[in-house]
Each structure stands twice: as C-alpha cells, then as structure tokens.
C-alpha cells in the first residue's frame, strides 16, 4: 500500500523523458520516507494501471503535448484528464480510463487517489537524452510539487522537515 510515484516516458526521446528525469530527482529526496515506492514506465494503458495496483495513492509524472501552454508549463490533472494520450511509446492496449475500469472490474486494488503532473513539451520526436531548456527548468518545479504532495499525504506541514 502507500504511495507509488510513476515516471512515464522514453529516456532517449528528448522531452518525452521528463517524467523519468523528475523521478530520478525525487529518488534522491526520498531518503528516510516509508510507504513510498517509485517506478519508471515506458508506456501507459494497462501497464500503467498494473503499476498502480496495490497502492493507496498514485502520483504520475509524464510529458504532454497540446496542453495549451508554452513548453515547460506544468499541469496537474486527474485520471480523466488522460483519456486521450499522445504518448509516442505506446497506446498498444487501452487508454488509461479503459485500463482503470478493467482493473476495477477484475478486482485489482487500485488507488483511490490518482494525481498526474504533466509538463508541456517542446520536442518529443528527436532521439536525444537531454531535455529542451524550458522543459529542463520545469523539472525542479515538478519535483517540489510532488514532494509537497507526499508531505500532505503524510501529514507533514510545508517546511516541516
């Protein structure tokens, strides 16, 4: 149980990797915290639903395109906000909403609380291991958001440690 933090992306596809890079940074901040697990995924759909199963809360970090903001803009969404995906890695199986319904139907213990942090991208079609500058600048911003989410969940007040 507890919280699962899930970074989604392709590590060699420029800004598509932003979720993975956020998770790398968060990993360093998790020292001493219990009840928090962390994983990296390359695709959404059923894989993502399966990764969430068994946890009370899920925090997902992913790249987004067409969110309306400039590259580097950070959004927060509920699971419904992800019904249409443009994740170039895979929509092999099902959308997240279908996958969540499937998980529910077959009795998997899915989190009651799912929060998605998404970063508007500049480039998700060039093979590269680095982020574009605006997206790179969003990484610490998202890290702080996620850490605050974790603090709130564990009853720690901001600045309380």
């Amino acid at each position: 149980m507890g919280t699962i933090i899930i970074g989604i992306g392709n590590p060699v596809l420029a800004d598509d990797s932003v979720g993975l890079k956020v998770v790398d940074r968060i990993e360093d901040r998790l020292q001493g915290r219990s009840g928090v697990a962390l994983t990296r995924l390359c695709c959404g759909g059923i894989h993502l639903m399966e990764a969430m199963a068994g946890h009370e809360r899920a925090i997902i970090i992913d790249a987004i395109t067409g969110g309306g903001g400039a590259p580097g803009t950070v959004y927060t969404l509920g699971p419904d906000g992800f019904s249409q995906t443009r994740n170039v890695c895979s929509s092999h199986d099902a959308s997240l909403s279908v996958a969540l319904e499937l998980g529910d139907a077959v009795g998997l213990p899915l989190p009651r609380d799912v929060r998605i942090w998404a970063v508007e991208t500049e480039d998700v079609s060039t093979y590269s291991e680095v982020l574009t500058p605006e997206v790179e600048r969003a990484v610490p911003v998202v890290v702080e958001h996620v850490v605050r989410d974790l603090d709130a969940a564990s009853g720690v007040s901001p600045g309380g440690h």
Partner: protein, 495 residues
C-alpha cells in the same frame, strides 16, 4: 476530390493516419498510410559502445522491447565473435517465449479481438477490452491480467527488470537461474498453455462458428497473394528465436532460405515520395508497385506469414492447430507442405496458434535440466567488424545490423523492424478494403470505417519503432499524385 480522414487510428501504437481520396464519382481514388515522424535512431546510436545497444534499442518502443533486446544481444554475439553457453541461449529463449505469450494475448484481447468478439459494427467506445469482458465474461478479463502478470514476472525474474530486460550480454546472460526459478517458469508455462487453449476455444466459438465472420475472413477484400517471410529451424519448422529466414512464393513453393546476415542480398527498400516509411521488397523479384502475385516483390512477415513458411510446428498441440487452420482454409499440399493461406484476417487465428506454440516451447525450455547450469557467459576476446542478429518479433522478422571499429565503437547501425516488412502489404490491405467498402459516395458509417481499420490492425503494426529509419527533422510532407504521376496536392503533417 473528397477526403475522408480516420485519425487517430484507435488502439495502435504511436500515431497513424489513413487518408482516403475519392474521385468525382465518390469511389476510392487513392489511399495513403501515414505514421509519425520519428527518425534518426541509427544515427543516435553511431559513436556509442556496441555493448550499450541491448538496453538502448529496447527503448525504441514500449511495446516490443524484449524483441529488440534479443536481436541486439544476438548481433553482439556475432560482433564480438563469441557463442553463448547452452544455458544462456536457453534462458534468452525462455524469456522470449514468455514475452510472446503476453504480447500475443494482449493483442488478441485488447486490440484485434474486440473487432470479432464485440463486433465490427459496435460503437468504438465498446470495441475494447471492456467490451470483450461484457460479451464473454469477467473471468476472461481476470485471465488476461493474470497472464500478463505471470509472464511479466518471468521476464523480471530472468531479465532483471520487467518489460525492459537488461540481462543480455555479448556471449551470454548476466545471471544463471536457480532450480526454484526454473520451477516457477515451468508452472507459468503450464498455465500459459491452458490459457492459449482457452483462447483458441473462444476464437472457435465466437469467430469460426459465426458464418458472418467467416464470410468476411474468406472474402477477397482481405486477401493478398504475396510472398511470405519467417524464421525456420533446420527442419523448416517455425522458430521464433533463431534459425534461417525462409521465403515462400504465393503458390507456396520455397523461394529462398538464407542466413539472417545475408538479408541485404534478398531485401531492398523502396522509397515513395509521399511518406518517410520505407517499403521493403524482395530484390530478386523486384518492385512492381503495391500489388500482389508472383511478379511483385511485396512480401509479408506476420504470424500468418510464419505459418505459411513453416513445414510444421515443433510442438504437438500447436501442430494440431496448424493442421486444423490449413484445413479450414482449404489449403492443399505442395512439396509436401500446406499451401499458404492468403486471407489476412486469418492472422488473428495464426497469432493464437503462435501463442500456443510459444507456451508449449516455454515449457520444453523450462523443463530442460541444462537451463540451470551456472555457466551462462563466455567472455568476448575480440571484435569482428560486423554483427547481425535477428529474431521473429511478434510483428515480423526483426534485424539488427551493427558495424564497429576495433574498439567496439559503432560506425554503422541498420535496423529492419517487424512492422516495416509489412508496410507495402498494409497499404494494399487498406486500399483494397476501401475499394470494396466505399461505393459511389456511400461512406462514413462507423462499422464501415472500422472495417478499414481492421485491415490495418490485423498486422498489429507498431508505428513508433517503425519510423526511425531516415535522418532529418522535417515534418512529414504528404504529396498526392494522379495516375500519371503528376503532383496534384500536398500538405504538411503537424508533429
């Protein structure tokens, strides 16, 4: 000219777009198959250490990383001129069979199957795995999820990480397996066989016993008499992991059999002005356009193709299904083997037969006492200039071809991924389906459009890793030409 767009193609990897151009009479003039522009992967790899490739190439795509990992590791064996010990070769193949079972199961239940199980005329919102569960029961959904969990568990146990294995090394595998792990794999294989048999029974009940579906499957709409490609063992039996690549002609006679390293002597790639996709074809037959028949070099590399090139299957239950399959389509014998099945809808059935074969072979490998040998690595001593590795990916023959300098730094990389083999055939299927289903402007009923997508989806195309092959950063420009080749229209595609 009126344009109908189906975008996005639902339930496919990456992003595709089918464009259909109608003439003044409302009949199909042209169809175009388009995919997103992910290019330059080979260039991204050049200059890296070759041994990085098994963990980089498996990031090309989130769908079949195991296939890239294995083709890459096999290419490294050749590049570093080192043979893996028997146990390592068997562990690799064991993992690969678990991957095949879960990948084919996911395609059948979540992607291809809904067309049959829920029905081609059902609303798109219902043509998914939830619709499948509503139609055939919740227990099926549980079995699909259990099948995935069971096989991802095997992949993690053997490969060091779920989905993206990291254990493959030139000359072997990074860790041996214990007796307890062997038993876990054997039990998973036993349950995979049960699930594959269950799935075939389900297919039998829902599809084979439904006259409307069988009429569709047998119709000329989804039929192309092309060449076929697949990997076979020394007795010309299906082999998903290793062997020689075999080509058979539309009449079923063997056209060629070759070592994967010789692929360039047999396959050329056609470039068309309207897409960045390349269209591989058989060099010795030649490119005659998007058409079938013995004079056209268009070939197909899919589960159906693999059954068409195989004399038989190496496991008993799958062999029974193989015979039943050919009998159902009225195959005769030529040179002692079944003539090919050209009806593309049969690919779904072929996929389930392969799932059963993979499950049975997984059990054979897991039951082999040699697989727990601690000797899983031979250390490379030298660097050859080139290494080619291939496997049958779920979507077709996958080739990794690396050239390196004496320090093992990559100088050239060429990949032919499964879906790429089928680009011409996919385009033909879309075209033919459109021609048969759109007449005199009568169009755009959901069931009708889904039948067009079905033509595409049966290939289970994986677009995100099939579009890596050209350098450059231009957005895709689509050009439309008339029958004389004159340019009549162009437009740019947004990223």
């Amino acid at each position: 000219m009126k344009r109908i767009s189906i975008n996005p193609i639902t339930r496919l990897e990456g992003h595709g777009k089918i464009e259909i151009f109608l003439d003044a009479d409302g009949n199909v003039a042209n169809t175009y198959f388009q995919v997103p522009e992910l290019r330059g992967f080979e260039q991204f790899c050049v200059g890296r250490r070759a041994e990085e490739m098994p963990v980089i190439t498996n990031r090309i795509c989130g769908v079949c990383p195991e296939a890239h990992h294995m083709a890459s590791v096999k290419a490294l064996d050749r590049l570093f001129a080192v043979e893996p010990p028997a146990a390592a070769a068997k562990i690799r193949e064991l993992l690969y069979m678990a991957f095949f079972v879960t990948d084919h199961a996911t395609h059948f239940y979540a992607l291809g199957g809904p067309d049959f199980i829920v029905g081609p005329d059902a609303p798109p919102a219902e043509r998914n795995i939830l619709g499948v569960i509503r139609k055939v029961g919740l227990d099926v959904g549980k079995q699909v999820i259990e099948c995935r969990a069971r096989n991802h568990g095997i992949i993690r146990m053997l490969g060091g990480r779920p989905i993206h294995p990291v254990a493959g090394l030139p000359g072997g595998w990074s860790k041996p397996i214990t007796e307890a792990e062997r038993q876990t794999a054997e039990e998973a294989a036993r349950r995979n066989i049960e699930f594959a048999l269950f799935s075939l029974r389900l297919f039998d009940t829902i599809v084979l016993q439904n006259p409307a579906y069988m009429e569709m499957a047998h119709s000329d709409t989804y039929c192309h008499r092309t060449y076929y490609m697949g990997t076979v063992d020394e007795r010309n039996r299906l082999n998903l992991f290793d062997g020689r690549i075999r080509l058979v002609g539309p009449d079923g006679r063997e056209f060629a059999t070759y070592h994967p390293a010789d692929y360039q002597a047999h396959v050329s790639e056609r470039v068309e002005p309207w897409t960045y996709l390349k269209f591989p074809y058989l060099k010795q037959v030649g490119w005659k356009g998007f058409c079938d028949g013995p004079d056209s070099g268009v070939y197909c590399a899919t589960p159906l193709s693999r059954l068409n090139v195989s004399d038989r299957l190496a496991t008993p239950l799958a062999q029974e299904q193989f015979e039943r399959f050919h009998e159902a389509f009225g195959s005769t014998k030529i040179d002692g083997r079944f003539t090919p099945v050209h009806h593309r809808m049969a690919t779904h059935w072929a996929r389930l037969i392969e799932m059963l074969y993979a499950a049975e072979h997984m059990r054979e490998l897991a039951a082999d006492p040699e697989i727990t040998s601690p000797r899983v690595r031979n250390i490379p001593q030298t660097v050859a200039s080139r290494g080619v590795g291939s496997v049958e990916a779920p979507r077709g023959t996958l080739i990794h071809d690396y050239s390196a300098d004496s320090n093992g730094i990559l100088r050239q990389v060429n990949l032919i991924v499964g879906t790429t083999n089928n680009h011409a055939a996919i385009s033909m299927s879309i075209r033919k389906a459109a021609e048969r289903l759109i007449h005199a402007g009568r169009i755009v009923e959901e069931g009708l459009l889904n039948r067009l997508e079905m033509a595409f989806r049966l290939y289970d195309p994986c677009l995100s890793c099939a579009t890596h092959s050209l350098p450059g950063a231009m957005p895709l420009v689509v050009e439309i030409r008339n029958h004389s080749g004159e340019h009549i229209r162009s437009f740019r595609r947004d990223g």
